[in-house]
Symmetry: C2
Subunit: 234 residues, 2 copies
């Protein structure tokens, strides 16, 4: 009703769920997910922490909410892609949709971690999964093979992977990294040799020798090629 003349003085617009969620996403993007507390979010919105409970049930609901926002971005970006020409294009179409999801998640690096902890799927994620299934069905997959495929893709279907060696970026201290490598040369000779060999023809930074995008696509293509084989074998 009174939305016409909002007073000139700052934040007199009443809070609502989407404003709370948008602020939470922005805060997590800027300061990291561990900085997102009910109190810090309230401060960001110029309000008391307890006010938030009128718009989200609790912190878990808040986390569900921000995952939903990100999943919505994925859905929006993916639905903007043109549909595959015919069933034979399932592989390229899946690849494109998954890489699109990945490009969205790269803007919200905290999202994979939060996604893992959710027990219910956002409807947007459900639709994303369904779209992938639809592509496979068009390509001639049985539901059984498509089901295996979804498991094989795992979180990769949404555009991220579980890396196990996420080296804490110790800003440019490559000397200690090299010292560490030499120290464990007897314990892990192959690992050390691999790293030194690949580092040689790689970029200057010792620890920056893994191109995430390249590795993601390598793994994704490996799986998609494997599925193509299984599909041919019936």
């Amino acid at each position: 009703m009174t939305t016409a003349h909002a007073p000139a003085t700052g934040s007199r617009v009443p809070l609502n769920r989407s404003r709370v969620l948008a602020a939470a996403v922005a805060l997590a993007d800027r300061d990291g997910i561990e900085a997102l507390t009910m109190r810090s979010l309230a401060r960001e919105l110029g309000v008391e922490a307890m006010s938030l409970y009128h718009h989200v049930a609790n912190k878990d609901d808040l986390l569900d909410g921000i995952v939903h926002v990100v999943a919505g971005e994925i859905q929006a970006a993916a639905s903007a892609l043109e549909p595959p020409p015919d069933g034979s294009g399932w592989k390229a179409a899946m690849r494109r949709r998954i890489l699109t999801a990945r490009s969205v998640l790269l803007r919200h690096p905290w999202a994979p971690g939060v996604l893992e902890t959710r027990t219910t799927m956002s409807p947007h994620v459900v639709r994303h999964y369904d779209a992938l299934l639809g592509l496979m069905r068009l390509g001639g997959f049985s539901y059984d093979l498509a089901h295996h495929a979804m498991h094989a893709l795992g979180s990769r279907a949404l555009g991220f992977t579980q890396e196990l060696f996420e080296p804490a970026d110790d800003d440019g201290d490559d000397d200690t990294a090299i010292a560490m490598l030499e120290q464990m040369a007897d314990q892990a000779p192959h690992l050390v040799e691999m790293m030194t060999e690949i580092t040689h023809d790689g970029p200057e930074s010792t620890l920056g020798w893994c191109d995430d995008q390249t590795e993601f696509e390598f793994g994704l293509d490996l799986i998609l090629d494997g599925l193509e084989n299984r599909l041919r074998q019936g």
Copy 2:
């Protein structure tokens, strides 16, 4: 010195790091990782919370420690496997080692989640990775291909995958699950049809239609087959 005659009265053995870590692993196994707090762990050991800080630097160090214990179990189980006959056995040998790691992690369901949050790798994990690299080298992999392979495997190399739909086991309430399915039939038609179709020839439980072990092996074999192809292509 005085370890010979421990008094009959319960816990008069002095605390040490490995006893603290063992108790922490046992507590997490029994009550879940969220139940592992400095205070609860101390109570378990019949001691004050602050005493723990003489044996672990802080909670992060405690988490590093219990991951190290689990990784040690993996290493022990894997080193008990007989070595592969020759280089041609790389695929079977990797498969066996990875499934062995998985069998250990199944006893510590909290471990994958904690592993993800660690910024440094346990030496046991390093050795596990190195053993996998060694198998690939024996099989004729270049370090470049082996490097891609490790990324493609990701956390699967340690025996777990990032499942995105970990349905909170709502004990046997299959009716509401079916109702939910029907409700989203228009939003996710393929997903619904897949679930109903697979459920038919599956076991009795509606939500228990995914055999984790089968799916893990399907994905692992998909990747190993794909690597074999890449290896042949040079």
